[in-house]
């Protein structure tokens, strides 16, 4: 394992911000650390990156415990902080040269690393521009590049897409998929369900400082009952005189039509073909149909009793 944490605990006064968090990240994989604001994600990340000393538990990098500010194992870790931790008055290149030098990189190795990182995030042509002239999305990408200079095996991203436009978000996801393909291990903290679903093979859900689930996406989906809703887009429903007959169909518990969208709640998803056959017999042409799958939002709600956006 590139990263393993065992029972991390961190207290601030009477508040236990992190309460026994254990997780792991393997090479070439992405683990999502998912939870609402204030769940303890950033504190956990701070301990993993060596910024905070845990009150209990330990952080293992490549199986060896991380100890102190100057531990050489920190070279295997790259942190992309939640804040845009960049010097706005310096150019992108100057920023990267500074952050690379902190890891003892020297020219020409440093130059090569800076060029490579800038190319990966698509900022090579703006390398000599001051960061203050960048858009928010460009700064986010540079924030990522700054963590890559020393070629860390483990990449920790703390909410790296906050306030980012869809295009830059997509670019960042593309970068991360490339890096994962290169064998990097990624720990990705977020409170956006769709990001964790897209990027991560394994997802750790935290709430109030505690791990409440740690599984693959498929494994988590099994924790909530499958939904039994069939949604059908009907081209021209006209006057739906057939709707009472549909509701009376065996296995149909409810059916509602709003505009062109028909939502049918079934006793069992296996009854879906019968519903589609019924619509065909009534000459209702449909352009699209789908069944709803439980997503992480549902899983979180099921596990915690509240949604991700709740305080």
């Amino acid at each position: 394992m590139l990263l393993e944490t065992r029972g991390l605990v961190k207290r601030f006064g009477k508040l236990t911000a992190v309460d026994g968090v254990s997780l792991s990240v393997a090479a070439g994989s992405c683990t999502g650390l998912l939870g609402p604001n204030g769940a303890g994600k950033t504190t956990t990340v701070s301990m993993i990156a060596g910024l905070l000393a845990p009150d209990a538990g330990e952080v293992l990098i490549d199986g060896a415990p991380l100890r102190g500010d100057t531990d050489d194992k920190k070279r295997r870790v790259g942190l992309v902080p939640q804040d845009l931790a960049l010097y706005d008055e310096l150019t992108a290149r100057d920023n990267l040269e500074l952050f690379g030098a902190l890891y003892d990189l020297a020219p020409p190795e440093l130059d090569k690393a800076a060029v490579s990182a800038l190319e990966l995030v698509g900022l090579a042509d703006r390398a000599r521009d001051r960061v203050k002239t960048y858009s928010g999305g460009m700064k986010r990408r540079l924030n990522l590049a700054a963590a890559l200079l020393h070629d860390p095996q483990l990449l920790i991203l703390d909410e790296p897409t906050v306030g980012v436009d869809p295009q830059s978000r997509s670019a960042i996801f593309g970068n991360l998929e490339v890096l994962r393909g290169r064998g990097k291990g990624i720990l990705y903290t977020t409170h956006y369900m769709e990001e964790a679903e897209r990027l991560c093979q394994r997802i750790v859900i935290v709430d109030h400082g505690k791990v409440i689930a740690d599984d693959t996406l498929r494994g988590l989906e099994k924790k909530v009952p499958p939904t039994r809703v069939l949604t059908v887009e009907i081209a021209d429903p006209g006057t739906p005189a057939w709707l009472p007959d549909l509701r009376a169909l065996a296995g149909v518990e409810a059916a509602e039509l709003a505009d062109q969208t028909l939502r049918v709640t079934l006793a069992d998803l296996e009854r879906a073909p019968a519903v589609l056959a019924f619509l065909g017999e009534r000459r209702q042409r449909f352009s699209h149909f789908s069944t709803e799958r439980a997503d992480l939002e549902d899983i979180f709600l099921r596990l915690t009793g509240h949604t991700l956006r709740d305080p």
Partner: protein, 374 residues
Amino acid sequence: MRPLLALIKKDLKLFRSDRRAVIVSMVLPAMLALMFGFIFRGARGEVHVKSRVVDLDGSPASQKLVAALEKDPVLGAQQAARAEVDDLLRRGTIDVAVIIPRQFVARAAAGDQPQIELMAGATSAAEAGIARGRVEAAIATAIAPDLGPDFARCATATQPYAMVNKSPAGGDAAYDGASHALAGMGVQFILIGAVDSAVGMLNERQKGLFRRLRTAPLARAVLIASRLVSGALIALFVLLFLYAFGSVTLGIAIKGDKLGFALVAVGFAFMASALGLAMATIGKTPQATRGVGIFVVLVATMLSGAWFPAFLFPRWMQTATLFVPTRWAVDGLDAMTWRGLPLADAIVPAAVLFLSALVLAGWSALRFRWDETA
């Protein structure tokens, strides 16, 4: 009416909630007023002129005069040997020295008009004027009968003695107000730069830059040391620029030891940089730090003697300024410029400045909060 009142109430609430505004608007002016009050009240009733008296006469009457000068509330003159006062005056340790000549009392009584020498340092013309009046008063009250019955009865138009102003031996350094002002203003504005540095450091912390820097395998001491050295280099650059500018425009010269000047300049540069670190360590937010930092700079500059002659300070404040590093910076720069003193006179000021820098930087390394969330 209700909207108006609501808006006023809102502004008052915002003012109260902004601690910086409260401090800058109320507490800091009150503190400065207190200090100015001490100074100017001191000027009215508690002026203290640092002085020595040398009794070459040694007669019972001259000893009465010495005792009167020792008890004088303004002079409080300690007795000293003739050989030591020149050096004390040249270094600015004392303002004036009163030299009672041999057989002063006997010669005065005989109508020989002996001369009392009133020696003053290059910066102490005002103090010398004050001292002259105090010495005349002491003679009149303490030994008038010893100087002849006419003098005692005020029956003579001429005094039985004379008082002459003199400079210390070897004290060819003329006071250069421009040079002193340059030292004082240089110290003040470099310290304001230190406040900016502290604010910048807290801004970096707010932006999460220290989180990023600390993910590298670096000791925190390295991060503090980097700020200390970069701040000192900037301060040194500013100071050297000011002296180069002063040299060209005002003819200010380093008349003392060049190495001594360099030692004091480097010591002050490190002290100013370390003070910036300490302000960042104390300050919670950039805004609050700016307000408090400016206050610290104003007080430190005032106590350095850059604004007022030190004799205007109450006696306790004159002693207290010895614990203010900026006083040593201004004194050290003065010593190596217009006073024209040797390297030895730069050692103590430079040592105090380096030691102050070490203490402030060490404390900051131990206490600085690297992360606002921690």
